[in-house]
């Protein structure tokens, strides 16, 4: 009940103040960022973090959340109209959205995407309001052993899920991130590691310049490398039929909302998997499986509900464990720390109102996204006429200035450039970026927790394995990894096939 009062209070104070203006422009900016191929939600949130770091905490976090919500939704527009996902989270959207647009139903498809995104956002928001306080209370029982396993669990599962065809590459990306986090003075004795006398390196690698490089500059190089995309020509039909169509698939929407939230909750997995897992589940359960990939309203609805539900889902571990659920959530975590907010298990004790403020921010951003998405269907299509040759240099200037602005250090510009090249090469070699970033975020937690745990157990490694929560974490991670290994999946598939054949005989 206290939570509901805090939530209503936060909504009330935001709608009766200038904050409402921030909600509108930041969500619209997010939608535009998401729509433009080459600009991801992570880049949008990272660049806006550099632009808002002199604002008050509440205002800055509100703007960032609105941008995040808007960008994940905005990516559906280019997926539908150009067959190019605006953000990686909209890849599943393109499968059915683009065939619908080609069939002259672009307006309906955009309305289905909007309805799904709003519904997904609301499901995720309710989960955030319910789960976050419970998880924060539960996390108070976490000690060094549990935080160690949480970090390992996050990196391994994120690596696995973001690189399903080749999980080893996902794990390598995660461990490279963990290594990058060890550069600079370590947190127990302040011994500089891998700094080689450089004062700048002793201070460590900043998360934001690294992310601006890995998601901004690397993306510029990737976009410029590819063939140019054609500016959109298709016209949008009526949006209202799309809303009516969506209602027919309410069960799919609810299922996708729950799956998306769960995917958001898992560290470092986020919106991309939220969309894919929801899409796969919808296809599995659908009576019209053959329509999937050829313009299925149900498929489009599942993908868009799943990715937007993952946004509030990804905020749950950010607030309660200081572990990001996705790459944009990692930036948001960094932004919260910059603004003096301390996410983690103590958040419900130190600042419970903040958690419900975040719920209110997600609520208003989701409403704004739905209203703007429906009202501006036709004007927003104009955004896709901007060519990459004119957009990318401006984005690069923002990447450079943004990296510099955080600490007024030219060194951060070098960091941005390094991560741009490094990220570009890793992408070309099919190494995912999300585990790398998660590794950088979790490196400090893993480092301190392992060393503290070893001191507490006097070097006895079994202490890491036998505590109940630790056991749940490592057994779950192990089972999950084994079950999703391509070779094990094939073997299991054969076994199930043989069993069902045996039963039918």
């Amino acid at each position: 009940m206290d939570g509901l009062i805090s939530f209503l209070g936060a909504v009330g104070s935001m709608v009766t103040s200038w904050a409402l203006i921030d909600v509108v422009w930041a969500t619209l900016l997010g939608i535009i960022v998401g729509m433009l191929p080459g600009l991801t939600a992570t880049l949008g949130v990272a660049l806006l973090t550099t632009l808002t770091f002199k604002m008050g905490a509440d205002r800055a976090i509100l703007i960032l959340i609105c941008t995040y919500v808007g960008a994940i939704y905005g990516g559906s527009r280019s997926a539908i109209l150009l067959n190019i996902p605006g953000t990686p989270a909209n890849a599943a959207t393109a499968l059915d959205g683009f065939p619908l647009a080609r069939a002259g139903k672009a307006g309906s498809a955009m309305a289905v995407a909007t309805t799904g995104s709003v519904f997904g956002g609301m499901v995720g928001m309710i989960a955030l309001a319910v789960i976050a306080p419970l998880l924060a209370e539960f996390a108070l029982r976490f000690g060094a052993y549990e935080f160690f396993w949480l970090a390992v669990f996050g990196v391994l599962v994120s690596g696995q899920l973001t690189s399903l065809d080749d999980p080893v590459k996902g794990w390598i990306a995660g461990f490279l991130g963990l290594f990058i986090a060890t550069i600079g003075q370590e947190g127990i004795y302040a011994v500089p590691r891998f700094s080689y006398g450089s004062t700048d390196l002793s201070g460590g690698i900043g998360l934001l310049p690294a992310m601006v490089g890995a998601f901004g500059f690397a993306e510029i190089l990737t976009v410029m490398r590819q063939e140019a995309y054609e500016a959109v020509r298709s016209k949008a039909d009526s949006v209202w039929s799309g809303i009516r169509e969506s209602y027919k698939y309410k069960v799919t929407a609810l299922r996708s909302g729950l799956i998306g939230t769960l995917m958001g909750l898992i560290p470092g997995v986020g919106e991309d998997m939220g969309a894919w897992a929801s899409y796969a589940a919808a296809r599995q359960a659908s009576k019209n499986k053959e329509e999937f990939g050829k313009g299925s309203i149900e498929g489009l609805l599942a993908a868009e509900t799943g990715n937007n539900a993952a946004v509030p889902g990804a905020l749950i571990p950010v607030l309660t464990l200081a572990v990001p659920g996705s790459a944009p959530a990692a930036v948001l975590l960094a932004a919260m720390i910059i603004h003096g907010i301390r996410p983690g298990p103590l958040i419900m004790i130190e600042s419970p109102d903040f958690v419900f403020s975040v719920v209110a921010m997600v609520f208003l951003a989701t409403i704004a996204m739905g209203v703007l998405g429906l009202l501006l269907t036709r004007p927003l299509v104009m955004v896709l006429k901007v060519t990459r040759e004119r957009l990318m240099p401006i984005i690069f200037v923002l990447c450079t200035v943004g990296a510099f602005a955080i600490a007024s250090r030219t060194f951060d510009v070098w960091v941005m450039l390094f991560f741009g090249f490094f990220g570009f090469i890793l992408r070309e070699l099919k190494y995912p970026m999300a585990p790398l970033i998660l590794g950088i975020v979790l490196g400090d937690i893993l480092d301190k927790s392992l060393r503290r745990g070893l001191v507490l157990s006097d070097g006895d490694l079994s202490a890491f394995l036998v505590r109940p929560i630790s056991m749940v974490l490592w057994v779950t991670a192990l089972l999950f990894i084994v079950m999703t290994m391509p070779s094990i999946r094939t073997q299991l598939g054969k076994l199930v096939g043989r069993k069902s054949k045996g039963d039918s005989l």
Binding site: E389, F396, A405, S408, L429
Partner: protein, 172 residues
């Protein structure tokens, strides 16, 4: 990237990764152990990077062996193939993008006033990439709009950061 090309890329990158991982192990071993401070040996600074280095070495070796089995070692670099790759439109676009962005970030941004450096960069980028796109220098209207875009973007970004957010940009 096709599977054979990926196997070749994996072959080369796994060697780099394995050597890097081994380097991390060696460097972690060389980190101070603070014996003179009598610190607990389980908390020495090199322990975590050491484990990370071991993981990177082993996984690098795994990819190396896998790429060997898949024939990734058959690199076969020919002069003709290299020439075709270097002169492809994709590589040209990437190289031009890298060159122009590097000149801006490394030379112009730290040394030249922002309101001058940024329009020069944006204009040069647009003209270079549009010339490659259309196969000839863009027409007068396109050049003019590129110039307006460059100047306006430079002024607006400069105003937002320097005047609204009080970030003193380098370059004077």
């Amino acid at each position: 990237m096709s599977q054979p090309s990926m196997d070749k890329a994996d072959f080369v990158s796994s060697i780099v990764l394995t050597l890097f991982g081994a380097g991390v192990v060696v460097e972690s071993w060389r980190l101070p152990r603070l014996e003179d401070l009598n610190v607990n040996p389980y908390t020495v600074p090199g322990i975590v990077p050491g484990f990370i280095g071991i993981f990177l070495t082993l996984s690098g070796l795994f990819i190396f062996i896998r790429s060997l089995k898949r024939g990734g070692w058959k690199l076969r670099v020919t002069a003709d193939g290299s020439r075709r790759w270097i002169t492809s439109a994709m590589v040209k676009r990437t190289v031009v993008t890298i060159l122009i962005t590097m000149v801006y970030a490394v030379v112009l941004f730290p040394n030249v006033p922002f309101v001058i450096a940024t329009p020069i960069f944006i204009f040069a980028f647009v003209v270079a990439t549009e010339t490659m796109k259309y196969g000839k220098l863009p027409g007068m209207v396109k050049l003019l709009t590129a110039l307006v875009l460059a100047v306006v973007a430079g002024i607006v970004i400069n105003y937002v950061f320097q005047e609204l957010f009080y970030v003193r940009l380098p370059g004077g």
